[in-house]
Protein backbone atom coordinates (compact mmCIF):
# COMPACT_ATOMS: atom_id res chain seq x y z
CA UNK A 1 0.00 0.00 0.00
CA UNK A 2 1.43 3.36 -0.93
CA UNK A 3 1.73 6.08 1.66
CA UNK A 4 -0.83 8.83 2.04
CA UNK A 5 0.00 12.47 1.48
CA UNK A 6 -1.71 15.60 2.73
CA UNK A 7 -2.63 18.28 0.15
CA UNK A 8 0.40 20.21 1.40
CA UNK A 9 2.93 17.59 0.29
CA UNK A 10 4.19 19.70 -2.62
CA UNK A 11 4.44 22.76 -0.38
CA UNK A 12 6.58 20.78 2.06
CA UNK A 13 8.87 19.64 -0.71
CA UNK A 14 9.15 23.15 -2.11
CA UNK A 15 10.22 24.39 1.35
CA UNK A 16 13.06 21.85 1.29
CA UNK A 17 11.46 19.39 3.72
CA UNK A 18 12.97 16.00 4.35
CA UNK A 19 10.10 13.54 4.06
CA UNK A 20 9.68 10.42 6.19
CA UNK A 21 7.10 7.68 6.54
CA UNK A 22 5.05 8.32 9.66
CA UNK A 23 2.14 6.00 10.45
CA UNK A 24 1.56 5.38 6.74
CA UNK A 25 1.88 9.04 5.78
CA UNK A 26 4.64 10.85 3.91
CA UNK A 27 5.26 13.70 6.32
CA UNK A 28 7.96 16.38 6.71
CA UNK A 29 10.43 15.50 9.46
CA UNK A 30 12.24 18.82 9.12
CA UNK A 31 12.62 21.85 6.85
CA UNK A 32 15.63 23.99 7.83
CA UNK A 33 16.71 21.87 10.81
CA UNK A 34 15.24 20.61 14.05
CA UNK A 35 17.18 23.03 16.28
CA UNK A 36 16.17 26.14 14.35
CA UNK A 37 12.56 24.99 14.06
CA UNK A 38 12.38 24.17 17.76
CA UNK A 39 13.64 27.65 18.58
CA UNK A 40 11.13 29.29 16.24
CA UNK A 41 8.25 27.70 18.13
CA UNK A 42 9.64 28.54 21.58
CA UNK A 43 10.46 32.14 20.63
CA UNK A 44 8.25 33.11 17.68
CA UNK A 45 5.66 31.06 15.88
CA UNK A 46 5.63 27.81 13.94
CA UNK A 47 3.11 26.04 11.73
CA UNK A 48 2.68 22.26 11.63
CA UNK A 49 0.77 20.24 9.05
CA UNK A 50 -0.75 17.53 11.21
CA UNK A 51 -3.48 16.58 8.77
CA UNK A 52 -2.50 12.95 9.23
CA UNK A 53 -4.26 13.01 12.60
CA UNK A 54 -7.80 11.71 12.77
CA UNK A 55 -11.20 13.36 13.11
CA UNK A 56 -13.95 11.14 14.50
CA UNK A 57 -17.38 12.70 15.03
CA UNK A 58 -19.89 11.32 17.49
CA UNK A 59 -23.45 12.60 17.23
CA UNK A 60 -26.86 11.73 18.64
CA UNK A 61 -28.92 12.07 21.82
CA UNK A 62 -26.66 9.79 23.90
CA UNK A 63 -23.30 11.22 22.79
CA UNK A 64 -22.44 12.44 26.30
CA UNK A 65 -23.26 9.09 27.90
CA UNK A 66 -21.36 7.15 25.24
CA UNK A 67 -18.18 9.25 25.32
CA UNK A 68 -18.18 9.21 29.12
CA UNK A 69 -18.24 5.41 28.91
CA UNK A 70 -15.42 5.03 26.35
CA UNK A 71 -13.07 7.70 27.75
CA UNK A 72 -11.59 8.49 31.16
CA UNK A 73 -13.53 11.76 31.44
CA UNK A 74 -17.14 12.46 32.46
CA UNK A 75 -18.51 14.47 29.55
CA UNK A 76 -21.39 15.74 31.71
CA UNK A 77 -18.79 18.17 33.01
CA UNK A 78 -18.04 19.56 29.54
CA UNK A 79 -19.67 22.78 28.42
CA UNK A 80 -20.28 23.54 24.77
CA UNK A 81 -17.02 25.01 23.47
CA UNK A 82 -14.80 23.03 25.85
CA UNK A 83 -11.92 20.78 24.78
CA UNK A 84 -10.64 18.02 27.03
CA UNK A 85 -7.56 15.81 26.89
CA UNK A 86 -8.34 12.24 27.99
CA UNK A 87 -7.48 8.59 27.41
CA UNK A 88 -9.39 5.76 25.71
CA UNK A 89 -8.78 2.51 27.62
CA UNK A 90 -9.39 -1.17 26.96
CA UNK A 91 -11.00 -3.49 29.52
CA UNK A 92 -7.66 -4.00 31.25
CA UNK A 93 -7.18 -0.26 31.71
CA UNK A 94 -4.47 -0.14 29.04
CA UNK A 95 -4.36 3.01 26.95
CA UNK A 96 -5.53 2.46 23.37
CA UNK A 97 -4.91 6.11 22.53
CA UNK A 98 -4.90 9.60 23.97
CA UNK A 99 -7.12 12.17 22.34
CA UNK A 100 -8.64 15.60 22.68
CA UNK A 101 -12.44 15.64 22.85
CA UNK A 102 -14.20 18.69 21.39
CA UNK A 103 -17.70 19.59 22.63
CA UNK A 104 -19.23 21.14 19.53
CA UNK A 105 -22.82 20.98 20.77
CA UNK A 106 -24.80 18.92 23.27
CA UNK A 107 -25.20 16.16 20.72
CA UNK A 108 -22.11 16.61 18.57
CA UNK A 109 -18.57 15.87 19.67
CA UNK A 110 -15.32 15.50 17.74
CA UNK A 111 -12.22 13.51 18.75
CA UNK A 112 -8.69 13.74 17.39
CA UNK A 113 -7.02 10.33 17.64
CA UNK A 114 -3.42 9.81 16.55
CA UNK A 115 -2.90 8.87 12.89
CA UNK A 116 -1.81 5.32 13.66
CA UNK A 117 -4.83 4.73 15.93
CA UNK A 118 -7.72 6.12 13.90
CA UNK A 119 -9.14 2.82 12.69
CA UNK A 120 -8.53 1.08 16.02
CA UNK A 121 -10.39 3.83 17.89
CA UNK A 122 -13.19 3.86 15.33
CA UNK A 123 -13.63 0.07 15.55
CA UNK A 124 -13.49 0.20 19.35
CA UNK A 125 -16.15 2.91 19.47
CA UNK A 126 -18.43 1.00 17.07
CA UNK A 127 -17.99 -2.18 19.14
CA UNK A 128 -18.94 -0.40 22.35
CA UNK A 129 -21.73 1.79 20.99
CA UNK A 130 -24.42 -0.90 20.68
CA UNK A 131 -26.49 0.22 23.68
CA UNK A 132 -26.17 3.94 22.94
CA UNK A 133 -28.16 6.07 20.56
CA UNK A 134 -25.21 7.58 18.71
CA UNK A 135 -23.70 7.59 15.28
CA UNK A 136 -19.95 7.50 14.83
CA UNK A 137 -18.33 8.88 11.71
CA UNK A 138 -14.68 8.69 10.78
CA UNK A 139 -14.13 11.83 8.70
CA UNK A 140 -10.34 11.77 8.96
CA UNK A 141 -9.89 11.82 5.17
CA UNK A 142 -12.12 14.89 4.80
CA UNK A 143 -10.49 17.21 7.33
CA UNK A 144 -7.15 18.94 7.70
CA UNK A 145 -5.45 19.92 10.94
CA UNK A 146 -2.85 22.66 11.24
CA UNK A 147 -1.15 23.56 14.51
CA UNK A 148 -0.06 27.18 14.95
CA UNK A 149 2.22 27.31 17.99
CA UNK A 150 4.44 29.83 19.74
CA UNK A 151 4.28 33.16 21.58
CA UNK A 152 3.19 34.98 18.42
CA UNK A 153 0.49 32.45 17.51
CA UNK A 154 -2.45 34.36 19.07
CA UNK A 155 -1.51 37.48 17.10
CA UNK A 156 -1.27 35.57 13.82
CA UNK A 157 -4.55 33.79 14.47
CA UNK A 158 -6.24 37.13 15.06
CA UNK A 159 -4.76 38.51 11.87
CA UNK A 160 -5.70 35.42 9.86
CA UNK A 161 -9.22 34.55 11.05
CA UNK A 162 -10.10 37.51 13.25
CA UNK A 163 -10.72 35.29 16.28
CA UNK A 164 -9.05 34.53 19.59
CA UNK A 165 -9.43 31.35 21.56
CA UNK A 166 -8.74 30.48 25.21
CA UNK A 167 -6.76 27.51 26.40
CA UNK A 168 -8.77 24.30 25.82
CA UNK A 169 -11.64 26.30 24.36
CA UNK A 170 -12.91 26.17 20.80
CA UNK A 171 -14.62 28.50 18.37
CA UNK A 172 -16.26 27.53 15.09
CA UNK A 173 -16.26 29.52 11.87
CA UNK A 174 -18.59 27.73 9.47
CA UNK A 175 -17.16 24.22 9.08
CA UNK A 176 -13.83 25.27 10.55
CA UNK A 177 -12.94 24.66 14.19
CA UNK A 178 -10.23 26.59 16.04
CA UNK A 179 -9.14 25.25 19.41
CA UNK A 180 -6.69 26.49 22.03
CA UNK A 181 -4.75 23.23 21.96
CA UNK A 182 -1.39 21.91 20.81
CA UNK A 183 1.52 19.58 21.52
CA UNK A 184 4.34 22.03 22.22
CA UNK A 185 3.47 23.64 25.55
CA UNK A 186 3.42 27.06 23.89
CA UNK A 187 0.50 29.39 23.33
CA UNK A 188 -1.32 28.62 20.15
CA UNK A 189 -4.13 26.83 18.46
CA UNK A 190 -5.09 24.05 16.14
CA UNK A 191 -7.24 24.75 13.09
CA UNK A 192 -9.38 21.91 11.78
CA UNK A 193 -11.51 22.21 8.67
CA UNK A 194 -12.51 20.78 5.28
CA UNK A 195 -9.44 19.33 3.57
CA UNK A 196 -9.69 21.44 0.40
CA UNK A 197 -9.21 24.65 2.41
CA UNK A 198 -5.88 23.66 3.93
CA UNK A 199 -3.68 25.20 1.24
CA UNK A 200 -5.25 28.65 1.69
CA UNK A 201 -4.72 28.55 5.45
CA UNK A 202 -1.13 27.32 5.10
CA UNK A 203 -0.15 29.91 2.52
CA UNK A 204 -1.74 32.77 4.43
CA UNK A 205 -0.09 31.84 7.74
CA UNK A 206 3.34 31.29 6.17
CA UNK A 207 2.98 34.64 4.41
CA UNK A 208 2.34 36.25 7.82
CA UNK A 209 5.60 34.82 9.14
CA UNK A 210 4.74 31.41 10.61
CA UNK A 211 7.67 29.04 10.06
CA UNK A 212 6.93 25.53 8.77
CA UNK A 213 7.87 23.00 11.46
CA UNK A 214 8.43 19.27 10.94
CA UNK A 215 7.72 16.22 13.03
CA UNK A 216 11.31 16.19 14.34
CA UNK A 217 10.89 19.44 16.27
CA UNK A 218 7.36 18.40 17.19
CA UNK A 219 8.94 15.50 19.07
CA UNK A 220 11.60 17.56 20.89
CA UNK A 221 9.01 20.23 21.77
CA UNK A 222 6.56 17.71 23.23
CA UNK A 223 9.23 15.78 25.14
CA UNK A 224 10.53 18.92 26.86
CA UNK A 225 6.97 19.32 28.16
CA UNK A 226 6.62 15.66 29.18
CA UNK A 227 3.78 14.97 26.75
CA UNK A 228 3.17 11.34 25.79
CA UNK A 229 3.80 10.00 22.29
CA UNK A 230 1.26 7.40 21.21
CA UNK A 231 2.83 4.10 20.15
CA UNK A 232 6.03 4.96 21.98
CA UNK A 233 5.37 6.10 25.57
CA UNK A 234 2.34 3.84 25.58
CA UNK A 235 1.95 0.97 23.16
CA UNK A 236 -0.85 -1.20 24.48
CA UNK A 237 0.61 -2.36 27.78
CA UNK A 238 0.42 0.72 30.00
CA UNK A 239 -2.40 2.23 32.02
CA UNK A 240 -3.17 5.88 32.62
CA UNK A 241 -1.95 5.45 36.21
CA UNK A 242 1.52 4.43 35.09
CA UNK A 243 1.85 7.38 32.73
CA UNK A 244 1.33 9.77 35.63
CA UNK A 245 -1.65 11.33 33.86
CA UNK A 246 -4.20 10.39 36.57
CA UNK A 247 -5.70 13.86 36.27
CA UNK A 248 -7.36 12.77 33.03
CA UNK A 249 -9.50 10.32 35.05
CA UNK A 250 -12.81 11.33 36.57
CA UNK A 251 -13.30 8.52 39.11
CA UNK A 252 -16.89 9.47 39.87
CA UNK A 253 -18.24 8.03 36.62
CA UNK A 254 -18.21 4.56 35.07
CA UNK A 255 -15.98 3.94 32.08
CA UNK A 256 -14.26 1.09 30.30
CA UNK A 257 -11.13 0.11 32.20
CA UNK A 258 -12.17 1.67 35.52
CA UNK A 259 -12.35 -1.63 37.44
CA UNK A 260 -8.90 -2.64 36.22
CA UNK A 261 -7.49 0.75 37.19
CA UNK A 262 -8.94 0.53 40.70
CA UNK A 263 -7.31 -2.86 41.17
CA UNK A 264 -3.93 -1.60 39.92
CA UNK A 265 -4.26 1.49 42.09
CA UNK A 266 -4.61 -0.66 45.21
CA UNK A 267 -1.64 -2.93 44.40
CA UNK A 268 0.78 -0.21 43.25
CA UNK A 269 2.52 0.29 39.93
CA UNK A 270 5.53 1.74 38.14
CA UNK A 271 5.46 5.29 36.94
CA UNK A 272 6.77 7.09 33.89
CA UNK A 273 9.85 8.92 35.17
CA UNK A 274 11.58 11.91 33.63
CA UNK A 275 15.32 11.32 33.16
CA UNK A 276 17.73 14.27 32.84
CA UNK A 277 21.29 13.46 31.77
CA UNK A 278 23.89 15.48 33.61
CA UNK A 279 26.81 15.12 31.24
CA UNK A 280 27.39 15.39 27.50
CA UNK A 281 25.57 12.82 25.42
CA UNK A 282 22.21 12.06 23.88
CA UNK A 283 19.82 9.36 25.02
CA UNK A 284 17.41 7.56 22.69
CA UNK A 285 14.30 5.38 22.91
CA UNK A 286 15.32 1.83 23.79
CA UNK A 287 18.46 2.78 25.73
CA UNK A 288 18.82 0.76 28.93
CA UNK A 289 18.23 2.44 32.29
CA UNK A 290 20.29 1.34 35.32
CA UNK A 291 19.74 2.08 39.00
CA UNK A 292 22.20 0.96 41.63
CA UNK A 293 24.07 -0.98 38.94
CA UNK A 294 21.01 -3.00 37.97
CA UNK A 295 19.15 -2.89 34.65
CA UNK A 296 15.64 -1.72 35.58
CA UNK A 297 14.03 -0.38 32.42
CA UNK A 298 14.39 0.95 28.89
CA UNK A 299 13.68 4.48 27.74
CA UNK A 300 10.40 4.97 25.88
CA UNK A 301 11.48 8.42 24.68
CA UNK A 302 14.81 10.17 24.57
CA UNK A 303 16.41 13.06 22.74
CA UNK A 304 18.61 16.09 23.14
CA UNK A 305 16.58 18.93 24.62
CA UNK A 306 17.40 21.82 22.27
CA UNK A 307 16.49 24.30 25.01
CA UNK A 308 18.36 22.68 27.93
CA UNK A 309 21.18 21.30 25.74
CA UNK A 310 20.96 18.10 27.78
CA UNK A 311 19.73 14.60 27.11
CA UNK A 312 16.17 14.08 28.34
CA UNK A 313 14.03 10.98 28.30
CA UNK A 314 11.28 8.97 29.92
CA UNK A 315 11.11 5.41 31.26
CA UNK A 316 8.71 3.32 33.31
CA UNK A 317 10.38 2.57 36.63
CA UNK A 318 9.91 2.45 40.36
CA UNK A 319 12.06 5.47 41.17
CA UNK A 320 11.79 8.71 43.14
CA UNK A 321 12.60 12.26 42.15
CA UNK A 322 16.38 12.92 42.42
CA UNK A 323 17.32 9.22 42.29
CA UNK A 324 20.63 8.89 40.46
CA UNK A 325 20.54 6.65 37.39
CA UNK A 326 22.71 5.77 34.43
CA UNK A 327 21.65 5.28 30.84
CA UNK A 328 23.69 3.00 28.62
CA UNK A 329 24.36 4.54 25.22
CA UNK A 330 26.50 2.45 22.84
CA UNK A 331 28.40 0.87 25.71
CA UNK A 332 28.95 4.12 27.62
CA UNK A 333 27.15 4.91 30.86
CA UNK A 334 25.75 8.42 31.04
CA UNK A 335 24.93 9.78 34.48
CA UNK A 336 21.51 11.25 35.05
CA UNK A 337 18.84 11.80 37.61
CA UNK A 338 15.10 11.42 37.93
CA UNK A 339 13.40 14.80 37.64
CA UNK A 340 9.87 16.07 37.83
CA UNK A 341 8.28 16.59 34.42
CA UNK A 342 7.84 18.79 32.46
CA UNK A 343 11.56 19.26 31.87
CA UNK A 344 10.89 22.83 30.81
Amino acid sequence: MSNKRTPLFNHHQKCGAKIVDFAGWEMPIQYTGILAEHKSVREKVGLFDVSHMGQIFVTGPETVEFLSYVTTWDMQRQKIGDCRYCHVLDDDGHIIDDTIVYTLSKEKYMLIPNASKVSEIYDWFILNSKRFEVSIDNLSDDYFCLALQGPQAPRLLGQHLNVSVGSFQLVTIGDTIVSGTGYTGEKGCEIIGPLKEVVDHWEALVEMGAEPIGLGARDTLRLEKGYLLSGQDFNGGQTTLETGYSWVIDWKHDFIGKEALLKIKSTGHQKLCGILIEERGIIRPGNELYYDGKLISQLTSGTLSPTLRRGIGMAYADLDINDLVTVKVRGNNLNGRVVRMPFL
Binding site: K18, G33, I34, L35, G216, R280, G281, I282, T303, L304
Partner: protein
Protein backbone atom coordinates in the same frame (compact mmCIF):
# COMPACT_ATOMS: atom_id res chain seq x y z
CA UNK B 1 24.02 20.11 -4.71
CA UNK B 2 26.73 18.79 -2.44
CA UNK B 3 30.21 20.22 -2.52
CA UNK B 4 32.87 17.57 -3.35
CA UNK B 5 36.40 19.03 -3.45
CA UNK B 6 38.57 17.45 -6.16
CA UNK B 7 41.72 17.24 -4.05
CA UNK B 8 40.27 14.85 -1.44
CA UNK B 9 39.66 11.10 -1.35
CA UNK B 10 36.35 9.57 -0.26
CA UNK B 11 34.67 6.44 1.05
CA UNK B 12 31.26 5.19 0.01
CA UNK B 13 30.27 5.74 3.66
CA UNK B 14 30.72 9.49 3.16
CA UNK B 15 34.01 10.13 4.93
CA UNK B 16 36.67 12.26 3.27
CA UNK B 17 40.42 11.69 3.66
CA UNK B 18 43.16 14.19 2.93
CA UNK B 19 46.79 13.12 2.65
CA UNK B 20 48.97 15.68 4.44
CA UNK B 21 52.54 16.62 3.53
CA UNK B 22 53.87 14.65 6.52
CA UNK B 23 52.15 11.47 5.30
CA UNK B 24 49.34 11.60 7.87
CA UNK B 25 45.69 11.56 6.86
CA UNK B 26 43.09 14.07 8.00
CA UNK B 27 39.53 12.73 8.11
CA UNK B 28 36.05 14.19 8.26
CA UNK B 29 32.59 13.67 6.81
CA UNK B 30 31.39 15.00 3.48
CA UNK B 31 29.04 17.86 2.76
CA UNK B 32 26.47 15.30 1.63
CA UNK B 33 26.80 13.43 4.95
CA UNK B 34 26.42 16.54 7.11
CA UNK B 35 23.36 17.56 5.11
CA UNK B 36 21.77 14.13 5.52
CA UNK B 37 22.51 14.13 9.25
CA UNK B 38 21.39 17.76 9.61
CA UNK B 39 22.18 19.60 12.87
CA UNK B 40 25.09 17.74 14.44
CA UNK B 41 24.70 18.24 18.19
CA UNK B 42 27.18 15.77 19.63
CA UNK B 43 30.41 14.19 18.41
CA UNK B 44 32.19 11.28 20.05
CA UNK B 45 35.84 11.09 18.99
CA UNK B 46 38.36 8.29 19.62
CA UNK B 47 41.22 8.61 22.09
CA UNK B 48 44.56 9.73 20.74
CA UNK B 49 46.74 6.65 20.32
CA UNK B 50 43.86 4.28 19.60
CA UNK B 51 44.23 2.12 16.51
CA UNK B 52 41.70 1.18 13.89
CA UNK B 53 41.47 -1.07 10.88
CA UNK B 54 40.01 0.45 7.74
CA UNK B 55 36.22 0.22 7.99
CA UNK B 56 36.10 0.19 11.81
CA UNK B 57 33.62 2.52 13.48
CA UNK B 58 35.96 5.07 15.07
CA UNK B 59 33.69 8.00 15.92
CA UNK B 60 30.03 8.95 16.20
CA UNK B 61 28.23 12.05 14.96
CA UNK B 62 24.78 12.58 16.41
CA UNK B 63 21.97 14.79 15.24
CA UNK B 64 18.84 15.40 17.29
CA UNK B 65 17.16 12.46 15.58
CA UNK B 66 19.91 9.90 15.04
CA UNK B 67 23.44 8.71 15.74
CA UNK B 68 25.74 7.82 12.84
CA UNK B 69 28.96 5.86 13.01
CA UNK B 70 31.99 7.35 11.29
CA UNK B 71 34.31 4.69 9.83
CA UNK B 72 38.08 4.76 9.51
CA UNK B 73 38.93 5.35 5.81
CA UNK B 74 42.43 3.94 6.37
CA UNK B 75 44.03 1.63 8.92
CA UNK B 76 46.28 3.32 11.44
CA UNK B 77 46.69 5.19 14.70
CA UNK B 78 44.84 8.32 15.82
CA UNK B 79 47.43 11.06 16.34
CA UNK B 80 45.17 14.09 16.65
CA UNK B 81 41.49 14.87 17.24
CA UNK B 82 39.53 18.06 16.68
CA UNK B 83 38.77 19.12 20.26
CA UNK B 84 36.76 22.11 19.02
CA UNK B 85 33.95 19.72 18.06
CA UNK B 86 33.21 19.06 21.74
CA UNK B 87 31.98 22.60 22.27
CA UNK B 88 31.01 23.34 18.67
CA UNK B 89 29.74 20.21 16.91
CA UNK B 90 27.96 22.50 14.44
CA UNK B 91 31.36 23.10 12.78
CA UNK B 92 30.70 19.80 10.98
CA UNK B 93 27.62 21.34 9.35
CA UNK B 94 29.14 24.74 8.75
CA UNK B 95 32.51 23.66 7.47
CA UNK B 96 32.64 19.90 6.83
CA UNK B 97 35.93 19.99 4.86
CA UNK B 98 37.77 22.53 6.95
CA UNK B 99 36.96 23.52 10.56
CA UNK B 100 34.78 20.44 10.92
CA UNK B 101 37.58 17.89 10.46
CA UNK B 102 37.41 15.05 12.99
CA UNK B 103 40.69 13.13 13.37
CA UNK B 104 44.21 12.76 11.96
CA UNK B 105 45.40 9.19 11.39
CA UNK B 106 48.96 7.98 10.99
CA UNK B 107 48.30 5.36 8.33
CA UNK B 108 49.74 1.88 8.18
CA UNK B 109 50.93 1.42 4.63
CA UNK B 110 49.43 3.03 1.57
CA UNK B 111 46.05 4.65 1.08
CA UNK B 112 44.05 2.12 -0.89
CA UNK B 113 40.55 1.60 -2.14
CA UNK B 114 39.41 5.20 -1.75
CA UNK B 115 37.25 7.03 -4.27
CA UNK B 116 38.15 10.18 -6.16
CA UNK B 117 35.69 13.06 -6.32
CA UNK B 118 34.06 11.84 -9.56
CA UNK B 119 33.56 8.33 -8.22
CA UNK B 120 32.14 9.71 -4.97
CA UNK B 121 29.69 11.90 -6.86
CA UNK B 122 28.41 8.78 -8.56
CA UNK B 123 27.86 7.20 -5.13
CA UNK B 124 25.61 10.02 -3.96
CA UNK B 125 23.84 10.72 -7.26
Amino acid sequence: MSEIPENLSYTKDHEWASLQEDGKVKVGITDHAQDALSDVVFVELPDIGSEFVKGDAMAVAESVKAASDIYAPVSGKIVSINNKLEESPELINESPYDFGWMVVIEPEGELEGLLDSNAYREVID
